[in-house]
Symmetry: C3
């Protein structure tokens, strides 16, 4: 992971405008779509089972987020994930609040078995999905990112993909290499959907990078840098969310190359 | 209701970050979650029937809002309300547009029979739920809060809880005591979801106060003061909604103690 | 189409606050409701089949947008459209992403057969609905508005209504007369739901004008002028979306009379 690959990823995202198929929760669809548009990607939310497999096959990348999953959308998510797998399309699993609730925990486990290119969650969610913890409190993690390092590595080796753990410092691992991404701002945790939108940006970057670890790191760095910039301008969480979208848009390839990214293993 | 209890409620909300389980309409989920985060609570939207009872039992408070209710979410709402009742968890019923539409009117009546800790609505909705009026025009009230005073008192005695009627001046009653909350701004009525978010803030305050009347008043006062502050800064309804979230966050315990709250009966 | 009729439409919208029944996708419900409130209309989102026909019959206008349509909402949309037709209530069809996906393309064709007062879409969507093209890439058009002129005229004559094609310059036709609306800003395409909200504003204007072509033109001109004003103030797409809502509210009847509207055939 170096400045050159980050710079190239940002440029490729802007140049190719990947189509990101999102099956995500109803709380965060708007900020997710606006974050994708801001970085230069093209969002489309399609979660009807009759359309999900068809659309996943033509998308550049797919996001599956179980935040408000129910019977119909669970079916659409499984169809989309399998279709992405068959088509060789990269896809991201965001196991929101997994661990504490039986239904979504089962759906997420089934999705994880299909082999997501990247799993992105907080420490509690990643530990629960890896079978190493009981889950957090609703959507909040009750553990720090570092607590989930071993579980993340285990999960990455099991899925054959990358696992990203969001926290004050993000941890991203493919089971062998591990990268830390610093920066960001605490206001991200007070903006509903910022973490979910990050999952979508991971999908967007996967579409324009050959190496999933690089794609995941680029997305986390992009979000963190934009958050730092937004926090400098915003007097509170409402204006922060708006300034963050502006900053996602404004961030250049050179900016991304300056991110606080450290390979630690 | 006095300044001391309002100050204590605001402090307790910030200190304990109650987990508010929201089963609410899809139009307002984002602003509801952001308003809860702004005041210091932790939102979680869970409306799948397989998860609703399980989650209501572990939440600090529950909000049930029938704005876009349909078969599946109606089932989840009934399960969550009964689970909250059994667990002794406070819960709020927001009977959006009840009266004019048969399906939701039936669902809301069934929910009211379970005994919500607080019912929060506009005058038309409260009158319709109490059986004293035909409902408003869509989500708008065609009556003033004072018109609903008697209906609110009747409904409060029937449910054994508190009933809050939103208007230019809000009326909040437990069937014996009645409190008026002034302030606020007309721009609240031009921001989609501000009233629905108020229902969620009532739930958050119920989680940190022993007296439901105090909790309901604190939430209404918090929203009104933040609206007044936001209106001074915002040139229009778009920027008002953002400034209101900032103001919900900024409001201190001392600010809340200065609210325009008058016990009238 | 002249300045007088545009001025009258804006005044009537503000004076009568039409109730717009929206059956629209979950990504854009918030911005749609806020845009309607900003221009002076009253939004209500009702998409439960048990309520859709009942509500469409009492609404001033109806919007049907298939962006995230599924089995239940498709049923509600067909019921609402038929109810509006029977009641003589104007209604708008927005065929989001039609052409590329089988299920929604079928639903949209069935809706078009009911005879929408106005169809509003991008060039790819209009061409696909008219049977003259294969659809775009997700929600994005792969064609310019002018490419869809003939398809729009064919579709207008088939439905007996007006067809509006959004683009850098919008084209609006009833199959005989064609009007171009200029202005606007490219940032509209980077704000999720701006096009969908435009569909809702068309519905609002239809409720206050006798001539559907005038209503459709007024809505497009209103959106374009507000976008130009917002773009002058906003540093990025996040702040643009907020400034656009403020500008929708601020736009006067005299402002609308100055719109870049040209009758071309």
């Amino acid at each position: 992971m170096n400045a050159t690959s980050l710079r190239a990823a940002r440029t490729a995202l802007r140049d190719t405008a990947p189509l990101v198929h999102c099956l995500t929760n109803t709380v965060v669809q708007t900020i997710t779509a606006n974050a994708l548009l801001a970085v230069g990607a093209a969002p489309a939310m399609v979660d009807e089972p009759k359309e999900a497999a068809e659309f996943a096959a033509i998308a550049s990348a797919v996001l599956v987020n179980v935040g408000t999953v129910h019977e119909r959308t669970a079916e659409a998510m499984l169809l989309a994930a399998r279709s992405a797998g068959t088509a060789g399309t990269p896809w991201v699993l965001d196991p929101v609040a997994v661990g504490g609730l039986g239904f979504r925990t089962g759906v997420a486990a089934e999705l994880a078995d299909i082999g997501p290119t990247v799993v992105r969650g907080n420490a509690s969610e990643v530990m629960a999905l890896a079978g190493a913890g009981a889950g957090g409190r609703g959507v909040d993690s009750t553990a720090a990112a570092d607590d989930a390092l071993e579980a993340a590595a285990v999960l990455a080796r099991r899925t054959g993909g990358v696992v990203a753990v969001s926290g004050a410092v993000d941890l991203i691992t493919d089971g062998v290499r591990t990268v830390r991404v610093g920066g960001g701002d605490q206001l991200l945790t007070r903006t509903t959907g910022a973490g979910c939108a990050l999952g979508a940006l991971v999908a967007a970057y996967l579409a324009v990078t050959d190496d999933p670890l690089t794609g995941a790191v680029a997305a986390h760095a992009h979000v963190a840098l934009a958050a730092s910039a937004a926090a400098r301008r915003a007097p509170g969480p409402g204006s922060f969310a708006i300034a963050w979208i502006d900053a996602l848009d404004a961030l250049t390839a050179d900016d991304l190359a300056e991110a606080d990214v450290r390979t630690v293993a």
